[in-house]
């Protein structure tokens, strides 16, 4: 019991509750002091409460302790291992500075958030089985689709953070990330943020979708501002995580590892981090502007003027401005989600094909190319928004050009597979499944990017089908490939291969049915984000197919979780390098010791020369051996 209350996580939750109450009390107290009535106004109370609750969590969990000490001039030595007098497992429930612990924390919390988002999808898919409303009110339905969107985005960002934090320092032979405290802060800020998003569903909900377009988002229920605040807070994690990763890669490689001898996943992580560091600020700004417009009446997005503004001859606000600010992040965000996944594909294919990676430099630079082009395409989401017509064509061409670096990746993958000695354990199956699904996403994208066709496809299930294909192909399948592939390294045990393969076949079959069903329904005119549909549209059978397939996917993920939990506790001990990988993290014991490498790595060859006799990538210099 005493151990329980010493857990940072529990203290953080208490801090969040206290902080929220404090914020609410502050607002109500100030209203009382200035003699306003009514005393209780829900929106400012919840916004200030949510803000102070987040701070309360971070104070309670202890993520700010070392910085507070630094400000007070106290020494803050690095701490390794479990807190004094506590068992090893408590590390995972408290602020810990090791990137390996933080990577696991990101992944586990990411899977929890993923399950919440998946549960919501399951609920509203049941509603869509028949026309008419059976189980939910339309408001409840809208809240669920909105929450499904943002909660899944949070889950994907957490999964990306998990892979990057665990793998990148190991791959470049660094002892840890460049800023371990910032790393812990970047993980823990996600926890109060996720809780805010979940709370928002229960205090009125909101019906704007995850895109929060004004003017609807200015008028929606109380869940709206909590959702903006949660979104904003998750953005803070993205910014500090991206910053940390870039510094780590640029300053902490061993001198012998030049940029073109880094494992290919590191390049993908760099591309992702550039986008996270720069683009996230704009969506943060957009969310902040929504909050102040709602609570202080600052008319950024309202095209109507009040009397005082008319007297000033002020120009009006403009709701399209929000869409520009929002999509300047939220389009690059999809590359934040898929670049690490595509990096995982490039990383694993040579291992299972026993062949060098085809066109290493081209793959590496295509990640940076996608990241750069990703900044120039945001307005392709706005072809029907009423923005200036002359903006449409350049954004259409810029969008179609993105197919070039993505195509480079596809041809490199084919070149790597060509003539390889392929084996098909579970991670390889997920890699191949990812390629097939991402290809489908690549084929449904251009019709949505071309203005003439987009005018018909916009706001239909076609778009829903397209982005689920890119997210499953670019994130979900590669994420599970990575989970199975690095499972023996992280836990030191083998996973159950038969259950892994069952998971793959159920998920890939379920996904193809679900996704093609969405494309088909979209072509028949089914609009997205609509709780009900006309039976005359003839999409009921398609909706039933999508719902059944969605439940198959959910079931397969439960199998995977069962497999991971049971295997981590009691399965056979894994050998050190079961995949015969050349990457440095596979040359050290599993699970990896507290200090990963005893001495700096010496890179003496190319990373992906599989099948070339006598070639070596890294040499481990044992501590104390000396030259």
């Amino acid at each position: 019991m005493r151990t329980f209350f010493k857990l940072g996580f529990v203290r953080g939750l208490l801090g969040q509750v206290l902080g929220t109450l404090l914020g609410m009390g502050l607002v109500t107290g100030m209203r009382a002091a200035f003699g306003y009535s009514p005393l209780w106004l829900a929106e400012p109370a919840w916004v200030i409460g949510g803000l102070l609750g987040t701070v309360g969590f971070m104070v309670g969990v202890g993520a700010l302790t070392d910085w507070a000490k630094w400000a007070g001039g106290l020494a803050t030595p690095m701490h390794h291992g479990a807190p004094a007098g506590q068992p090893e497992w408590t590390r995972y429930f408290a602020v810990d500075l090791s990137h390996k612990v933080i990577g696991v924390q990101y992944t586990v919390w990411g899977i929890f958030v993923l399950l919440v988002g998946g549960l919501l999808a399951g609920l509203f898919r049941v509603e869509l089985l028949q026309p008419g409303m059976q189980y939910f009110t339309t408001d409840r339905y809208n809240t669920m689709i909105s929450a499904h969107g943002i909660i899944m985005i949070a889950a994907i960002l957490l999964g990306v953070g998990g892979m990057i934090n665990y793998l990148v320092p190991l791959m470049i032979g660094a002892s840890d990330m460049a800023f371990p405290r910032l790393n812990a802060f970047g993980f823990w800020i996600n926890v109060p943020a996720s809780l805010l998003l979940i709370t928002a569903m229960f205090v009125g909900g909101w019906d704007t979708g995850w895109t929060a377009y004004p003017p609807n988002s200015l008028r929606t229920a109380l869940g709206g501002p909590l959702f903006f605040l949660g979104f904003y807070t998750i953005g803070i994690s993205s910014i500090v995580g991206g910053l940390n990763l870039l510094v780590t890669v640029f300053t902490m490689r061993p001198p012998s590892m030049n940029l073109f001898r880094m494992p290919i996943f590191v390049w993908a992580a760099v591309g992702t981090s550039i986008l996270q560091l720069l683009a996230t600020q704009l969506v943060g700004l957009a969310m902040l502007m929504l909050i102040v417009e709602r609570s202080l009446g600052m008319g950024f997005f309202t095209p109507v003027l009040n009397e005082a503004a008319k007297a000033l001859n002020s120009p009006p606000g403009d709701p399209v401005l929000f869409q520009h600010l929002f999509w300047f992040y939220s389009h690059p965000a999809v590359y934040v989600f898929v670049l690490p996944g595509l990096g995982i594909i490039s990383e694993l294919l040579p291992v299972f094909a026993r062949k060098p990676l085809f066109g290493y430099k081209w793959i590496a630079l295509s990640s940076i190319g996608i990241a750069f082009l990703g900044f120039l395409v945001w307005a392709h989401h706005m072809f029907t928004s009423g923005m200036s017509n002359y903006l449409r064509l350049p954004f259409m061409y810029a969008t179609l050009i993105i197919a070039v670096p993505t195509g480079v990746k596809f041809f490199s993958w084919l070149g790597t597979l060509w003539g390889g000695k392929l084996t098909y354990p579970t991670p390889m199956l997920f890699v191949l499944g990812a390629i097939s699904v991402f290809l489908l996403g690549g084929l449904t994208g251009p019709p949505a990017a071309t203005i003439t066709t987009d005018l018909y496809l916009h706001d239909t299930y076609w778009v829903v089908g397209h982005f689920h294909q890119t997210f499953f192909g670019g994130f979900m399948f590669p994420f599970f490939a990575a989970m199975y592939y690095w499972f023996p390294k992280v836990t030191g045990r083998k996973y159950n291969e038969a259950l892994g393969k069952l998971h793959f076949w159920l998920m890939v079959a379920g996904f193809w049915v679900m996704s093609l069903g969405q494309i088909w329904a979209g072509l028949r005119g089914m609009r997205r984000r609509i709780a009900d549909y006309d039976p005359a549209l003839g999409v009921q059978n398609i909706q039933i197919g999508i719902t059944v397939a969605a439940f198959v996917i959910a079931f397969s993920i439960l199998i995977a979780l069962y497999n991971f939990i049971v295997s981590a506790r009691s399965a056979e001990v894994a050998e050190r390098n079961p995949w015969r990988s050349r990457s440095p993290e596979w040359q050290i014991p599993s699970p990896i010791p507290e200090h990963s490498y005893a001495a700096p790595l010496a890179v003496v060859g190319e990373p992906y020369d599989y099948g070339l006799p006598g070639s070596v990538y890294v040499r481990m210099e044992l501590a104390g051996a000396g030259d």
């Binding site: 910032l182 943060g284 417009e293």
Partner: protein
């Protein structure tokens, strides 16, 4: 290998990381401020509201002077002149507070309210976001002043002072772009 050399090497490695990290943070923050400037030009176009020009000029001069005193503090520390170091930090804080007073009392107290259309929203949005950064800089300087008073920085090892100084210069630089966007560009509308 003596112990002090090892500590020195560790400090140098950390310093390299810290510098790169801080400059990347500036790059990230620049996107925030560029977004705010984009909002100003999108909504205001080639016009601006009538503002108190004298007040705008005075607060700009005060803030630019504070950048000079901040630089003086850092240079004094490098030359081991502790008294000038600490005093210049305090002068910088006073100048920062004067700037805040000018913005909050005279600009926010003028005839424009936050809810007055795009003029009110952008004026309070720009000055408010910048003022928030000035407040963070003042808190940072006070922390550095307190730690400096207790002798925690040497003329060779003072990353905290360096970070605080460039943060303050950065906040000033943002105002160098905000001042013309608010006070000088476009046609003043009565």
């Amino acid at each position: 290998m003596s112990g002090s050399t090892a500590v020195h090497g560790e400090y140098r490695a950390a310093l390299r990381n810290n510098r790169l990290g801080l400059w990347l943070f500036f790059l990230s923050e620049s996107f925030l401020f560029i977004g705010i400037l984009v909002t100003r030009f999108y909504l205001w176009g080639n016009t601006r509201p009538e503002l108190n020009q004298l007040n705008g000029l005075l607060v700009t001069i005060v803030l630019l002077l504070s950048s000079f005193t901040m630089n003086r503090a850092e240079t004094a520390l490098v030359q081991n002149d502790r008294k000038t170091f600490l005093n210049s930090l305090l002068v910088t804080v006073v100048l920062g507070l004067l700037f805040l007073a000018g913005v909050i009392v005279f600009e926010w107290g003028g005839h424009i309210r936050p809810s007055d259309g795009a003029y009110g929203a952008v004026l309070f949005g720009m000055t408010g976001m910048h003022a928030l950064h000035v407040v963070s800089g003042i808190v940072f300087i006070l922390i550095v002043w307190n730690n400096g008073r207790r002798g925690l920085y040497s003329s060779e090892q003072h990353w905290g002072v360096e970070a605080c100084a460039i943060w303050w210069h950065y906040v000033d630089l943002v105002w160098v772009f905000f001042y013309p966007a608010l006070y000088l560009m476009g046609q003043a509308i009565r």
